[in-house]
Symmetry: D5
Subunit: 148 residues, 10 copies
Amino acid sequence: MDMSEVTAKLIEAKNRKRATYQDLAEAVGRNKTWVAAVIQGQASMDEKEAEALLNYLEIPYEEIKHELMTPPYKGSLSEDVPTDPLIYRFHEITQVYGTTLKEIIHEEFGDGIMSAIDFKMDVEREEDPGGDRVVVTLNGKFLPYTKW
Amino acid sequence: MDMSEVTAKLIEAKNRKRATYQDLAEAVGRNKTWVAAVIQGQASMDEKEAEALLNYLEIPYEEIKHELMTPPYKGSLSEDVPTDPLIYRFHEITQVYGTTLKEIIHEEFGDGIMSAIDFKMDVEREEDPGGDRVVVTLNGKFLPYTKW
Amino acid sequence: MDMSEVTAKLIEAKNRKRATYQDLAEAVGRNKTWVAAVIQGQASMDEKEAEALLNYLEIPYEEIKHELMTPPYKGSLSEDVPTDPLIYRFHEITQVYGTTLKEIIHEEFGDGIMSAIDFKMDVEREEDPGGDRVVVTLNGKFLPYTKW
Amino acid sequence: MDMSEVTAKLIEAKNRKRATYQDLAEAVGRNKTWVAAVIQGQASMDEKEAEALLNYLEIPYEEIKHELMTPPYKGSLSEDVPTDPLIYRFHEITQVYGTTLKEIIHEEFGDGIMSAIDFKMDVEREEDPGGDRVVVTLNGKFLPYTKW
Amino acid sequence: MDMSEVTAKLIEAKNRKRATYQDLAEAVGRNKTWVAAVIQGQASMDEKEAEALLNYLEIPYEEIKHELMTPPYKGSLSEDVPTDPLIYRFHEITQVYGTTLKEIIHEEFGDGIMSAIDFKMDVEREEDPGGDRVVVTLNGKFLPYTKW
Amino acid sequence: MDMSEVTAKLIEAKNRKRATYQDLAEAVGRNKTWVAAVIQGQASMDEKEAEALLNYLEIPYEEIKHELMTPPYKGSLSEDVPTDPLIYRFHEITQVYGTTLKEIIHEEFGDGIMSAIDFKMDVEREEDPGGDRVVVTLNGKFLPYTKW
Amino acid sequence: MDMSEVTAKLIEAKNRKRATYQDLAEAVGRNKTWVAAVIQGQASMDEKEAEALLNYLEIPYEEIKHELMTPPYKGSLSEDVPTDPLIYRFHEITQVYGTTLKEIIHEEFGDGIMSAIDFKMDVEREEDPGGDRVVVTLNGKFLPYTKW
Amino acid sequence: MDMSEVTAKLIEAKNRKRATYQDLAEAVGRNKTWVAAVIQGQASMDEKEAEALLNYLEIPYEEIKHELMTPPYKGSLSEDVPTDPLIYRFHEITQVYGTTLKEIIHEEFGDGIMSAIDFKMDVEREEDPGGDRVVVTLNGKFLPYTKW
Amino acid sequence: MDMSEVTAKLIEAKNRKRATYQDLAEAVGRNKTWVAAVIQGQASMDEKEAEALLNYLEIPYEEIKHELMTPPYKGSLSEDVPTDPLIYRFHEITQVYGTTLKEIIHEEFGDGIMSAIDFKMDVEREEDPGGDRVVVTLNGKFLPYTKW
Amino acid sequence: MDMSEVTAKLIEAKNRKRATYQDLAEAVGRNKTWVAAVIQGQASMDEKEAEALLNYLEIPYEEIKHELMTPPYKGSLSEDVPTDPLIYRFHEITQVYGTTLKEIIHEEFGDGIMSAIDFKMDVEREEDPGGDRVVVTLNGKFLPYTKW
């Protein structure tokens, strides 16, 4: 069974139970975006987390547990420039504000990067009379360049 | 004078004055990341903002004021996939977590997108004994798909 | 069942009934181009709309209803530059007149964009003795860039 | 003098005179979007139109008149997928709704295309209490495929 | 049944009957290159033409008739630059002589294009003692650019 | 002096003399499309031809004669897929009818290609009450594949 | 049966018989590299050659004979830049020494090309105390550019 | 002075002296294709070779000698797929016969490659009543894959 | 059975036996990274090695042995720029430090390359109180460019 | 002055002094590969290091010191796939052995990456009777994926 089939099976079970990612997150004891990333085949769980997820979704397969525990080949898109408008907007932010982020981070932290590995992110709804807002928080450790 | 020359002149003046983006932000009355985006040629100012910036930097040129007020051709990178490691990490976040963001936003808001136009972002330092962290907040209005 | 199979089943049923997109549009209570977009897997319906469509087409499947209600991964082409001549002409209009549209919209509205989300479009036939004409109307909300 | 220099000189004169594209259109006796397309190097004028434009802008150069009368190498973007958000939205419309337009046009007109040559377009502002709207009308002759 | 299967079935029947494209052209009452284009999934027939073709090839399928009558998604190659040497030579002609064709056509016809829709082509053998020659004739209506 | 400067100088002289490609062709004793190809930097002349062209255009430069006699680096476009609509239509013909040409040529000549080297082409105007037509004739030697 | 299945069946039979390409070449009466090219789906045989090959390999299928006699869609790689190191080295030779070959061939033969159709190649082992060498000989007819 | 200027200067001197690559090869004591590769900026000479070349061409510059002795950034083309027909034919040979070469070399030498570094090549004219032929010989050491 | 199925079967057997690559390496008498490369379809074994591997993994299939002994079509990624973050970091090292490696190797060894064929690599863990480190050693024979 | 001019000036001074990277490394108190990376515009120095380098090279410019201290836009190649054979071999190692490295690192360290930021590398010569070897050591901190 390859990872896209695992994703399909998990989403089907989630729909059957009318569960939200928040429900899964509580069952596993993790944040909802991280659990969604696992289901999308972009992160891996330990055995206890995988069992909690499968128990909650009432899926018995041993094989799926194994897949959830294996570090996946990451990259959720088949294109460098995503065509889906929701995902494209994030690409656009990198394209338009990439050098801006570089300027600000270098000024405040020096030469280095924001880690995408020692990293967490969250998505929240901010109520606003002009229309509610999506707030995405990206939180990564600053890694200074080593000199050698 | 094209926009890359404007950027070079403004950065040179900023270095000469040993000013930070926070200093410029205060002079203009806006957030530091937005001011940096203007200087990188990715956003446009009104006349008052442009004058405040040029006065602070002690740059007299009329021509630069005009450039700062013209909507630029946006896109700060010459590549679809950026080679610079700091900027690449943001590309990687879109590549790896793009479908995750899509799942979560659709579940919580329905079919639509986070706007990259009615949008603001901020960069903050979060102190952490395991190494300080870069926190980037992306805040865009949710735009539901119109049916017609 | 993935979305391309859903599209195939719906088009087959539409052909069997010798229905036009206008017929489907009336059954659903929406514009014909929007209904065609749903069938092409580029927009999602609510439950009532999906049921109206499936009843009209006499398709009982529960699974298709679910697919029609899920926000799809959008993007109807497998190429950045479409090879099909009808679709290529729209790509050509963007290529040739892209900067023209930018000039005119910025002059009349300021720095911002025409939304492709708060958006509707229509296709009409205009009779003309020199040969009938296709009139495509794109109607999107102007979104001014936020300053922050 | 190459066409990009011609564009720069004409825009500089337009700014100096504080003229709008509508003003230029009236001087030339054509639609504002077509005049903007000429200035962007995407269409050519006859001698009378070119002289009307240059007279209005008070530019004496003979060489520019010649450039305006030469069919240009068309294509206003240096990328297949434009990075500028305003222009990208038109690319997105082709990407997302390309097959929808194909379905509707084939159903109503048969096998053929909307011409991008025997073609005109217009941009209008539609006032709307929920936010004014950009209305772009694309109007091209239907060209049926010849059989031979 | 998708179009590539239709193509395979038609070619198989053509081989079985040891028919040439000229034979099919006579059965349908059209030029051999146009009939070949239909079989390659690049043009569509009306009902009478489709029946003439299927009768000649002794193929009873109703489904194939329907496919032959549907405007196909055109584009016969999966690459922008074809690898097959016969087809590449046509790409090479466009690459090498593209600007030459542009110069000559603009000089003789003004600003406009040769239509690839109101278009026919033919392939003939020219006997030559130095080796027979392939003569391909491309014949398209000149479409002048509309001004508006 | 590189070839694009040579092209610019020759076209400027051609415009100054109000000469057509047909005039140049007669001065050189060759077909107009071949002379245009030389001027576009896609073919090379012998000394006599180069002198005839330069004499006719009243250009004395020795250096240009040398450039016209050197086999150029061929390829007149900077893109695999040309953006200019006139040139794109030729690309479209290859894309749409490439496999059709392959079928017909293989059926009539066997396995081999139409040469683009032992090759000539011509452009003619065909008068037509429904609109004049551009007729492009491609004439290349058939080269059968050698077996070894 | 498509060509990749034909290739697989032929290679399997070749392995079963422990035959070399030299053995097949002798059975067919052709060079080993040409026979390998046919098996890789890059060249076509006449009926007698195809029967000789299939008899030698003890494969009875009529369908394979037909495939071997049909001019294939040529191009053995799915990438412009091959990833396989053996094949990449040939790409590297074109990349690095392409303009060198152009200089030498033009100096010695004039403006024209080495044919890849009226062409044969061979691979030989050259014994060498410093390590045996692979010697690939490319032998193509010089085709001078026609003037017209 | 960058390498393309060095190339231009050397070719200009070669033309001025009406020298062939064979003449240069004899002056340097190397093969003509290798000397052409050096001049094209694809290989480097030692001091004695560089001086022999510059003396023969009567070019005094010290700076050029230095450039000829520096290992260049190799790759003579600005495209993955060359547009020039002479060079394209070599690309075509790799595309069409790449897997054929792989089969033959692996069968005769085992798993490994033909080196493009411990490598030499030559171009010869083969007289032929059917048209003279270009014979290119590629001669590289076989490098077996190391196991470790 | 194609190579990706072979890889899947071997990894499944490895998991079933809870074997590490080090265990397999010892069974085969080779380094763990080389054995992993074979399993990933990037290197080939001799008969004895293949039998040792299959015996250890208790897989009887003759067909797999044959696949392990055939030189594979190498290249483990379907993209030029890998999306997986672990693999991307190696791409990044080539992108960022490529010219640095070129400078250092040319200075110390002269014009030539580090072989990727007469090559071995190893991965080791280096304990470090600031976090353990991955140490990858690339060891290839220096190949000087031949002059000819 | 942009970074490529800085690189050119530093290399010119290094050549003038006949200094090696090892000499520069000792003057700065860092490893030779890191100093080469700085000179190639891929890393930044602090003020003391920059002054040590400029003093050693006897370059007085203040402006260069400033450039050496600014975090550069990293990425030393203008292509995703480098054409230079020395650099390509590193690309090939990633292409061929990328999944092998992923397997080994995940098995020994778990889900995470080798950092290319908290990273150092070295190049050494290993003497070998069969030909000296280039040994490149890549040493990066293992970064485990954070769960959140």
